[in-house]
């Protein structure tokens, strides 16, 4: 365990004098500088994006498609709709699977058995695997199964696999925070463990689960690497029309526009960034509101 550092052989500066010594103040200034630096970076990023993109926050951004030849009115309509479609599909796949896995691991699995220990370690690993590897996994899977790679369903599968470990881990923590008394009371009244989970534990843990899920989905919203691997940069100028339709998403569109040197594309890229950050802000605010208002403190 930790030990108190060796008592210095030189006399320590005691009391308030100790706090005023040159090195102490220097240290504090260094710490402030670190915090200030982080904040300045954040501020600069947001301000540059905002200044560059503000002129293009117009209706065209939302209603028109990307243009190769008229960048002044290029729009992110295909990207916005694509993002929404992909995220909804991802949620429909990842949430049930993630919650189910977490329920099993937390409520039913014996933590001493090797099989369950393996799953634990495995989950922690998967949560840190680079996003692009999930794209490669889905590409391989799609190839084996005969699924086309450049479609909404494949993209959603890649993202669902990406956020599944995160959902499982956060759901488990939410379930863990529900006190044992709730479960015991339910069981004492004659419910099966499964009924207990479904009717008592899970509803009690719901705010935590919702928060974790929304944060995971907001991460999926911002991911581009796995989708790039699946679909390449096809210039998409139509609304996605189904699970097997070609698509693009906001991050991919931003990536594509950023790569183009003309000023107009930089502008519309920043405008799209503002839209993306706005969406993420809304999702995160929602998660925080849920956490603050509905979180039960036992």
């Amino acid at each position: 365990m930790a030990t108190i550092g060796a008592v210095a052989t030189a006399p320590l500066r005691a009391g308030r004098a100790g706090e005023r010594s040159g090195t102490s103040i220097g240290f504090l200034v260094a710490l402030w500088a670190a915090l200030a630096f982080a904040l300045v970076c954040l501020a600069t990023l947001l301000v540059t994006a905002f200044i560059d993109g503000y002129p293009r926050l117009d209706g065209a951004l939302f209603t028109r498609y990307s243009s190769r030849v008229i960048p002044e009115t290029a729009g992110a309509r295909a990207a916005i709709l694509g993002s929404m479609m992909v995220i909804v599909t991802t949620a429909l796949m990842a949430i049930p699977l993630g919650v189910a896995a977490a329920v099993y691991l937390e409520e039913f699995a014996d933590p001493r058995r090797w099989f369950n220990k393996l799953i634990e370690v495995n989950l922690q690993n998967l949560a840190a695997v680079p996003a692009i590897v999930y794209g490669m996994l889905t590409a391989g899977f799609a190839l084996t199964v005969g699924l086309p790679r450049r479609v909404v369903l494949s993209g959603a599968i890649a993202l669902a696999l990406l956020i599944l470990p995160v959902i499982i881990i956060t759901t488990r923590e939410a379930l863990r925070s529900v006190p044992a008394e709730i479960r015991q009371g339910s069981l004492a009244l004659g419910a099966t463990p499964l009924q207990t989970v479904w009717r008592q534990t899970l509803p009690s843990a719901l705010p935590g689960v919702a928060t974790g899920t929304i944060l995971a989905l907001s991460r999926a919203l911002g991911e581009a690497a796995p989708l790039l691997l699946l679909g390449g940069l096809v210039f998409v100028t139509y609304d996605p029309n189904g699970l097997m339709s070609g698509f693009t998403t906001l991050p991919i569109q931003i990536f594509s526009w950023t790569g183009q040197p003309q000023v107009e594309f930089r502008q519309v890229a920043s405008a799209a960034i503002i839209v993306l950050l706005g969406l993420l802000l809304v999702m995160n605010a929602l998660a925080i509101v849920i956490r603050n208002r509905y979180q039960r403190h036992w």
């Binding site: 243009s67 190769r68 030849v69 008229i70 390449g232 940069l233 096809v234 210039f235 998409v236 100028t237 139509y238 070609g246 790569g259 183009q260 040197p261 003309q262």
Partner: protein, 284 residues
């Protein structure tokens, strides 16, 4: 009319097909034209597997690609839709690169230059002793094939230590950011970014010639003036009426499309030939 037209291939031809797709959409809003940029070689691979309706190409189809298409039963037409003046560029901040002979270009880009020709004075003793920064298309690009064929004498023969990208925008950004950089790509990418870039005049023995619509059309910009093609699949044209309509549109409006995409339009003779061929293909 509605449907999807799937195009893939050369990043040089992509602006043309994208422009055509956008203009066509104004007439037929139900038709979605999607244009990929896997490179001329990559495009043909997909085309000969039947995965695309039209292949964009900045060089004629190669023999092995002809074989592959034959084997797969993919029949096609070759339509020349515009002319390109392949442009060699440097940054607008550069002062010493104004004209290069084809020999100097070969010294710069040949496979033997790899690791050895690293400063500008090795290309021409009058140039300063500054590090060379090179940007160019990757090996899937028709532009790469064409350039290496004309300049280095053999298609595919090139040094490999340069910033290679199928995305010409990467080349634009790279070259414009460094005063000692040089790159090459299709004419439109120079036109679109004229403020940040400087086109280098090419001397193939008859003096320095700058790339432009005139010099490309009258043949004085050699050897880097070249035709740009699209290869529509016969099956796609016959089975999908929106693809046929798109080909007709492309052929009839080739000049306007070339101008919108900032390429060099065909001259009258070439335009008539295009329209005839398209007419034969689509039966209109």
């Amino acid at each position: 009319m509605s449907g999807e037209v799937v195009i893939d291939g050369s990043s040089t031809v992509e602006p043309l097909s994208s422009a055509a797709g956008e203009l066509f959409k104004e007439e037929q809003p139900g038709v979605n034209v999607s244009v990929g940029t896997s490179g001329t070689g990559g495009g043909f691979e997909k085309f000969c597997q039947g995965a695309t309706d039209i292949s964009d190409a900045s060089r004629p189809i190669a023999e092995d690609e002809v074989e592959a298409c034959k084997k797969a039963g993919v029949d096609y037409s070759e339509l020349r839709v515009a002319t390109d003046a392949l442009t060699v560029v440097t940054s607008a901040d550069n002062e010493f690169l104004n004209c290069l002979t084809t020999d100097e270009l070969a010294t710069l880009w040949g496979p033997d230059a790899e690791g050895k020709v690293t400063t500008w004075d090795q290309v021409n003793p009058d140039f300063p002793n500054e590090n060379i920064e090179l940007y160019g298309p990757g090996t899937d690009s028709g532009t790469f094939d064409y350039f290496t064929d004309e300049i280095n004498g053999e298609e595919g023969a090139s040094r490999s230590d340069y910033n290679a990208s199928e995305d010409d925008n990467v080349i634009v950004q790279g070259v414009s950011g460094s005063a000692n950089a040089l790159g090459y790509f299709g004419y439109t990418y120079f036109e679109e970014n004229g403020d940040a870039l400087k086109a280098i005049e090419i001397d193939s023995g008859d003096g320095c010639v700058a790339p432009s619509a005139e010099t490309a059309q009258d043949g004085s910009y050699t050897p880097l003036a070249r035709p740009l093609f699209i290869y529509p699949s016969k099956e796609a044209v016959e089975k999908k009426e929106h693809v046929a309509a798109f080909i007709d549109f492309y052929a009839e409006n080739s000049s306007e499309i070339a101008e919108v995409a900032q390429y060099i339009p065909l001259n009258d003779e070439q335009t008539t030939e295009l329209q005839d061929q398209a007419g034969q293909l689509t039966g209109n």
